[in-house]
Symmetry: C2
Subunit: 152 residues, 2 copies
DNA sequence: GTCGGACCTCAAGTGCACTTGAGGTCAAGG
DNA sequence: CCTTGACCTCAAGTGCACTTGAGGTCCGAC
């Protein structure tokens, strides 16, 4: 039971609540980088629990995998991230979060004056202009609240 | 140019900023119900501009088509909805919106104490429990912030 | 040593919200 | 009357975030 043993994918799944298949998918997406044991099975660092947790939270907040990958790019690849590393991420993340909350609140405040009144015939309503920008972004489901998905 | 002429799908697209194909899709989904002219082309009421606008805003807020359909179910099907109809919807909608904002704010407040500290090893962190509920909901992309998709 | 469960890969399927394409019909201006 | 562009239907494709399945390997307990 040396510290170098690492956690199996099943243990990771049990501890995070993620499906095993989801964790493998996240590996494909570059969000975690387990090593392999002699038999070819994945072994995870304890710190990877945090990485996956971060992924889960960010997902819940509406960030795409690409965005999350970008957000986590600042974490050290091969060593367990320190408390300071996570704090740095947290600051950037919090800013995005604040922006999202502000956008929602703003929308809510305009909604009262907008949906109830006659301006929903649009042309003049400030609510739609941001939507137009999103509409120009091609196929697939749109990203929420106008945040551009992080490229590549 | 009698009032009974109605708007073509192209006009609707131009006025809402939606793609023509998206409007047809929304019809398939039951979000608008245009009638057909002699030649089989769709004709829309002016009030449908509002319906589509509502769809666009709700989409931006992260509601699924099914949820939006449920939300709009209270609107009169065959007559142009009155200001009172829209206000009713708006109230319900605003409540969902408030809940979403509250969830985000709450999450943000916990994030500071959570991501920066050691608790992201989870097991005890209040952030994950809601996520577990979402994980039980089967295939496909998860809905944001724990709102259940409207059934049917 | 053998058995079952956990693990592996790779390909294909799923759900949502659309878009694109093929192959045609309709309507308004010249 | 004829053309051109807007419109029609229906089937298939797309991107994201996964899951499911087939077919096989590994490992820990008995």
């Amino acid at each position: 039971m040396a510290a170098s043993e690492g956690l199996s994918i099943g243990e990771m799944a049990a501890r995070t609540g993620l499906a095993v298949s989801a964790i493998r998918y996240y590996e494909d997406e570059g969000l975690v980088r387990p090593w392999r044991n002699a038999g070819g099975q994945r072994r995870f660092q304890r710190a990877d629990l945090r990485r996956l947790s971060f992924v889960m939270i960010a997902q819940k907040l509406g960030f795409s995998i690409a965005e999350i990958r970008a957000e986590m790019a600042d974490l050290p690849r091969h060593r367990a991230p320190s408390k300071a590393d996570w704090s740095r991420i947290s600051v950037a993340f919090r800013a995005r979060l604040e922006a999202r909350i502000a956008a929602l609140t703003d929308l809510r405040d305009r909604l009262d004056g907008c949906i109830g009144c006659g301006c929903l015939s649009l042309e003049a309503c400030a609510l739609y202009n941001p939507a137009d920008a999103a509409a120009a972004r091609g196929t697939g489901p749109r990203y929420l609240l106008g945040d551009a998905p992080a490229a590549k």
